[in-house]
């Protein structure tokens, strides 16, 4: 039987493996001809990173040397790009005019790097990362030790960055998303990765949107959307790949994103196969080598005449090949109903592991810092083996524990020797804690903290201390007493606030990692709280996370039951003018706003505004000098006033003026819960100041400053904080009080509840008696106001901030 002709287009990893499979089974079935656009033999593309970093030479990563082609009688055209497939004549033609006839054809053209079409993307010095030529270009550029900017913080980008850094370049990675490698890693692992990348001297800028690549004929820098300019001698684009299905399309084969194939890797023309990254199979495309090898095996066997082989879309796993960075991810780790998370964090070792189970089966795994069990978990994912309840308890500890008897935590604590260290931070032993509980009659965590310091630093031993309390006290210990913020953590608000400062945690993923959150990205309860705490504690550094805010604070208006919004502009101290009222009237007409109402807070509410209209409504109100009233926020709301000495026959001071001054000074600040003030001109108290969060009652000799009132869910008269002689001093005391509350309050805890928790004289000590502390509080408030006192409406009405919030997508029908 005469040999059939097999032609292969592309000489990458996938067809290389397919030929091995074929030759093993049917060495004499075909005369094989390969065309490769790259002028070289088949090599291990995934090992280009070690070549870039200098850890390996090209020779070491060759898969098939020249001898292999000779041994198997293969004709290899190096540096021949195929430009045409003629399916009628059954031939392919290369750019150099070489024509080869085929009986069977394999298209294995891989993929092409995606290039963001920003201005400047064609300049010399803009590189991609795909083949040896790219590596050579990078190595050449690295000789001059200049600056490199890598666009893309995924697998390829980070490997390129690490390689260039190892070659002595100054490297910055730009990543569009908030965390690195977000396709493979969840936020927590992404945070640890960023820390490790930075630790090796590579700058990382997340949320970086590239606007332009600068330079005349050669790259000189990169300009970001936010105006940042970064100098650069080379720019490496590693933002993704696209299946290279061009030839298939030209030849009229069925294509979608890639060349469509069946389970035998045949295209819509049964004589033409396709394997590798150029393929699309059951809506999947591929970017890792393991599934391509599966394809190659099926293709090779089918060509050899086997008919019972079929490709099945497999699970994939990822590892990053940057020396010293240990991460692994596999399967599906999106959270979902009926899915369960098992999370393990060891902050001191920088270890994070998360397993996702569904129907008692492992479906996904993310690991950082300790990936020894990666293969074990990956196998469990692939096999879909059921995991019984006992095994589940120790699953996260990996293979070593698999099947072992689960430990009863109480028994485990009871079994510890007296000198076992419980609190690592403060070196407190079990014996010392048990002794204190017995001798001091301690009944709760706070008592143990006060007497032994155990669990008072990082808090991670809290669970152990509680178990010791339970062990010692039996039923007398109420474990439910110290409440966690939400089901994502056992730490209470107080612990979290303290640790954010003590450990200088400055992002939500950092808090969740270091404080060992039990969920991967929190919930609707803890996210807004953390966002507030971080904003309050690091006002100049923290980037407000819009997605951790409730809708009202995100779009700066109150959502109504029908999905429309209400708009309440500030009326400083309840004062308004003809100009403002006219502007409001015009806005109501122009946007057909159905209701206008005087609120209980001395201002006007426009109800029923369509979301899309909000920016335009704000623009008109802004034009008349009005700004957001924060009627929607955990923030300063209203300062009600009465007419005071200006008009009232009983008025003792200018209550209206003080109210306006307070509102102008305090507006814009975010607070644990909403804050409402009022200033009354005399004890008749027409502004209802004695049921507000902070109130002032003016008297002949000065100003009584009140606080901790309530008239909502609870009704409570205020307490007197102090009495001062001047308006200036009233401003100071009130501002310092507000800042103290901002720093100490738990999220959603109104001032009266906070005061009740910390004691009424606490505020008096900190704000009235300790003048140094008052000054420090005032200084911190000023710093925080610098960024906070910007009208959020103006930014959205005129500068287009958060525009996506207000625009509905309307695809053409």
């Amino acid at each position: 039987m005469s040999r059939q002709k097999l032609v292969v287009i592309g000489n990458g990893m996938a067809p290389g493996r397919a030929l091995e499979e074929l030759f093993e089974r049917a060495p004499d079935a075909y005369d094989v001809t390969i065309f490769n656009a790259e002028p070289r033999v088949n090599y291990n593309r995934i090992m280009l990173s070690p070549v870039l970093s200098g850890e390996k030479q090209f020779e070491e990563i060759v898969i098939h040397g020249d001898g292999w082609y000779v041994d198997h009688g293969v004709t290899l055209y190096k540096g021949h790009k195929v430009t045409e497939i003629d399916r009628e004549a059954k031939t392919v033609t290369s750019e150099h005019g070489e024509v080869a006839p085929y009986d069977k054809l394999i298209i294995a053209t891989g993929s092409v790097p995606f290039i963001i079409p920003v201005p400047g993307h064609k300049l010399a010095g803009v590189l991609t990362y795909r083949d040896l030529d790219d590596v050579d270009a990078m190595l050449l550029a690295a000789k001059s030790k200049g600056k490199a900017v890598v666009i893309g913080g995924g697998l390829l980008g980070l490997e390129a960055a690490a390689g260039l850094k190892a070659q002595g370049m100054d490297v910055t990675v730009l990543h569009l998303m908030p965390t690195l490698m977000e396709r493979q890693l969840d936020e927590s692992a992404g945070y640890l990765l960023e820390k490790a990348i930075r630790a090796r001297g590579i700058e990382v800028i997340t949320r970086a949107n590239t606007k332009e690549i600068l330079g005349d004929d050669k790259v000189t820098g990169v300009l970001l959307e936010d105006g940042t300019k970064l100098p650069a001698d080379i720019v490496v684009m590693a933002v993704g790949i696209r299946p290279n299905g061009e030839l298939g399309k030209q030849a009229g084969l069925d294509c979608a994103r890639g060349i469509l194939v069946n389970a035998q890797l045949q295209t819509s023309d049964p004589d033409i196969y396709s394997v590798g990254e150029c393929v699309e199979f059951e809506s999947n495309t591929y970017g890792l080598v393991a599934p391509l090898y599966d394809m190659a095996s099926v293709c090779g066997r089918h060509l050899a005449g086997e008919t019972d082989c079929a490709f099945i879309h497999p699970q994939t796993s990822t590892k990053l090949k940057v020396t010293g960075v240990d991460l692994f991810s596999a399967g599906d780790f999106a959270e979902g109903d009926a899915r369960e998370d098992i999370v393990f964090r060891d902050a001191s070792r920088g270890v994070y592991k998360r397993l996702v189970l569904e129907d008692n089966r492992l479906i996904g795994a993310v690991m950082y810092g300790d990936t020894a069990d990666g293969a074990y978990f990956f196998n469990l994912i692939k096999s879909g083996e059921a995991i019984d309840a006992d095994a589940r308890d120790t699953l996260i500890f990996g293979q070593a524990y698999a099947g072992g008897a689960p430990l009863d935590p109480m028994a485990a604590v009871a079994a510890l020797p007296d000198d076992a260290e419980i609190c690592g931070c403060n070196g407190v032993s079990k014996g010392k804690i048990c002794g204190a509980i017995a001798n001091q009659n301690l009944t709760d965590l706070d008592g143990v903290r006060a007497h032994t310091k155990a669990s008072s630093s990082c808090g991670t031993c809290t669970g152990l201390v509680e178990q010791l309390l339970a062990l010692q006290l039996g039923d007398a210990f109420d474990a439910s007493a110290p409440k966690g913020m939400c089901s994502c953590t056992d730490l209470g608000h107080g612990d979290v606030r303290r640790l954010i400062k003590a450990k200088e945690l400055k992002t939500i993923p950092a808090v969740m990692q270091e404080l060992q959150w039990k969920t991967s990205c929190g919930c609707a309860k803890c996210r807004p709280a953390l966002n507030y705490y971080l904003l309050c504690d690091w006002p100049t550094e923290y980037v407000d996370d819009q997605q951790s805010r409730f809708i009202n604070e995100r779009v700066h208006a109150n959502i109504q039951k029908d999905g429309t919004y209400s708009v309440v502009p500030r009326m400083w101290g309840g004062m308004t003018s003809a100009k403002e009222l006219r502007a409001i009237a015009d806005v109501v007409d122009k946007f057909s706003i159905p209701s206008v109402k005087c609120t209980g807070g001395q201002r006007i509410d426009m109800l029923g505004v369509k979301k899309e209209d909000l920016p335009a409504v704000w623009a008109d109100l802004n034009a008349a000098g009005m700004v957001s009233g924060h009627a929607y926020g955990k923030a300063l709301r209203t300062v009600k006033t009465c007419v005071g000495s200006d008009w009232c026959r009983f008025g003792t001071q200018d209550s209206t003026g003080l109210g306006m001054r307070l509102e102008r000074h305090l507006w814009g600040s975010w607070t644990p819960a909403k804050v409402k003030l009022a200033v009354s001109g005399c004890p008749r108290n027409c502004a209802e100041a004695t049921c507000k969060d902070i109130g002032v009652i003016c008297v002949d000799s000065g100003y009584e400053v009140h606080f901790a009132g309530a008239a909502g869910l609870d009704i409570k008269g205020t307490e007197i904080l102090t009495k001062v002689a001047t308006e200036d001093e009233a401003m100071e005391v009130i501002t310092a009080l507000l800042q103290l509350y901002r720093e100490e309050g738990y999220y959603l805890e109104r001032i009266y509840k906070w005061a009740n928790r910390v004691g009424l004289d606490h505020a008096h000590k900190k704000v009235v008696e300790d003048l140094d502390n008052r000054r420090a509080l005032l200084a911190r408030f000023d710093v925080s106001q610098r960024d906070a006192q910007n009208d959020p409406w103006a930014a959205r009405a005129t500068d287009g901030a958060e525009a996506h919030e207000f625009r509905v997508l309307e695809p053409a029908s």
């Binding site: 790949i241 999106a334 109903d337 609707a524 997605q547 009202n552 779009v555």
Partner: protein, 107 residues
């Protein structure tokens, strides 16, 4: 009813842990992007009192309704926890790594 795929936006048009609203032939659909990068499309009306789900906080694979805090699973459209109710979900595909397509029943 015949259905078809509709190209609605770029992946980057939807903020991570955020959402967009699509209006198409009278229907209002919330399109969500989770922290792990998955995109889901569901009817934008809470089963409780028709709250606009697209305005809720997105956490893990779910959204908390902005009106009364019902938690809706984005993948299944079912209410989580003790609540009952569900919303329609629409198939989503990301094509070319960036274009979000959803499958709608078109008249």
């Amino acid at each position: 009813m015949p259905s078809r795929w509709i190209d609605i936006c770029d992946l980057t048009d939807i903020p991570v842990r955020g959402s967009r609203v699509v209006r198409f032939q009278g229907a209002e659909i919330g399109v969500f992007r989770t922290a792990s990068g998955d995109v889901h499309a569901i009817d934008n009306r809470c089963p409780h009192k028709r709250g606009p789900l697209s305005e809720g906080i997105v956490h893990d694979g779910a959204v908390t309704c902005p009106l009364h805090n019902m938690i809706i699973d984005l993948k299944s459209g079912m209410a989580r926890g003790a609540d009952e109710g569900c919303v329609a979900v629409y198939p989503v595909e990301i094509r070319d790594g960036e274009r979000v397509h959803i499958k709608l029943s078109a008249a």
